[in-house]
């Protein structure tokens, strides 16, 4: 079964599935924390691509370096975003994205 032998394209497919699921999560969820989880899925799919291509195509260390930077920025983003979520909760007593619409007016 040459088709099922693990190579680059299986990783790209896994990362594509993760990306699409993350996109669906970001687009459809009302809960702000669930939207954040979708963003984490998308970032993880990008990381899989970075490492897969650096392993199978370039053979250099650059892909892994970039993955570390992405993880660092993801940690910073999660901390800030959750602080914003808490602030919104203190103001509106909810974190549903369609209730906190003060900026819209």
């Amino acid at each position: 079964m040459e088709f099922l032998k693990v190579g680059l394209w299986q990783y790209v497919v896994v990362s594509g599935v993760l990306f699409s699921l993350g996109l669906v999560c970001v687009a459809t969820r009302k809960n702000a924390i669930a939207v954040l989880m979708g963003v984490e899925l998308i970032l993880n799919s990008a990381n899989i691509n970075f490492i897969a291509f650096s392993h199978y195509v370039s053979g250099a260390v650059g892909g892994q370096v970039f993955t570390v930077f992405v993880i660092i920025l993801a940690a910073a983003e999660a901390a800030i975003a959750l602080a914003i979520v808490l602030a919104i909760f203190n103001r509106f007593r909810t974190i549903e994205g369609d209730v906190a619409t003060t900026l819209k007016e």
Partner: protein, 184 residues
């Protein structure tokens, strides 16, 4: 069945197992009704992605993934869930809107990426290097990537201080009143 599995090594089968775990738990994150279940499904996704990193000879990144995503971000997410909902209440739900409209484009996107990934003639290496790469990674961080590395640490400090400033309660008034009382 035997014919299907012929020529597959154990590591290939393990890869499919880990990939299935990753995708199934990612689907759990997206489609689960309860936000707490979503958070715990995210645990499976992060673990599965760490397993994929191990297959790609990225051992350091796999450990970093476990430590930062599972030990840091996931715990932070769970804290936020617990602090913004009353745990006893049934309100720990997370509704989706227009899921039926979002799914078809997502399926098309997955199919498109799959076809592109399979059909493209990637310029693959003859023999991917399966040796651990940690030493080279350390050299890269203290050599070519030193400046971005330091900037990243600065970004982290600024982001964390900013998060604390945003999330704390405003207690300035109480403190000044207390100080006035003490000075009297």
């Amino acid at each position: 069945m035997n014919q299907l599995l012929e020529g597959l090594t154990l590591s290939d089968l393990t890869f499919y197992l880990v990939a299935a775990l990753t995708i199934v738990s990612a689907a759990g994150v997206v489609f689960s009704k309860s936000i707490v279940y979503s958070a715990f499904a995210l645990l499976g996704t992060f673990g599965g992605v760490a397993g994929l990193y191990l297959f790609l000879a990225a051992d350091t990144i796999a450990i970093v993934q476990i430590m930062i995503y599972v030990g840091g971000i996931l715990v932070l997410l769970l804290f936020a869930v617990m602090m913004t909902h009353k745990i006893e209440s049934v309100d720990v739900t997370s509704r989706s809107m227009d899921l039926h409209k979002a799914l078809p484009p997502a399926v098309v996107l997955i199919a498109l990426i799959g076809v592109i990934a399979k059909k493209t003639e990637w310029k693959l290496l003859k023999a991917p290097d399966d040796n651990p790469i940690t030493a080279k990674l350390g050299d890269a961080f203290l050599g070519d990537y030193l400046l971005p590395f330091e900037v990243a640490s600065l970004v982290l400090v600024v982001a964390l201080v900013g998060a604390v400033v945003m999330a704390r309660r405003e207690v300035k008034g109480d403190f000044s009143r207390k100080a006035e009382k003490e000075s009297e």
